[in-house]
Symmetry: C2
Subunit: 93 residues, 2 copies
């Protein structure tokens, strides 16, 4: 996994998108409605996610349906959350 992929995976709105389409494929408008994000922003993020191979795309009529490319992606995020919960955060501010 290269740097770009790592970073693509952890940005918060992109993670939200992944969670969102993780349950069921969704078109761009639905995603932006669900997450309350600008359409163009969602589109930009989807482009990067696609570029990194994290999502798949399927055109049906006017709509583009996106889905998570591999269930392992969500599993990894899940494991990350578990790990985060078990760490002792040391606030130095």
């Amino acid at each position: 996994m290269n740097d770009r992929l790592f970073k693509c995976l952890v940005e918060s709105n992109r993670r939200r998108i992944l969670y969102c389409i993780g349950e069921k494929e969704m078109c761009v408008n639905t995603i932006s409605d669900c997450l309350n994000l600008e359409q163009s922003l969602v589109s930009h993020h989807l482009k990067e996610l696609f570029r990194c191979g994290l999502v798949e795309r399927e055109r049906r009529g006017k709509k583009n349906f996106y889905s998570v490319a591999d269930p392992k992606i969500l599993e990894l995020l899940e494991k990350a959350h578990e790990l985060g919960d078990s760490l002792e955060v040391c606030n130095l501010d």
Copy 2:
């Protein structure tokens, strides 16, 4: 796992530091020598890693020894690499 922790975990030089001290605890100078990074840069990164609970610190004499806080951290990075290898990257540039 919050946003800050995610991002702390994936930055490339911080990952290098984690890999570096994963095998054996190290002091700051040794880390900067191993990775060929400025001492102050390593120190800044270690501060953030510590703040997020990803590394532990132990003072011995003049030196500060750092180690990975939990083996699960490296396991997670390992899983991320495996996942990355199995994804089809779609270069859109």
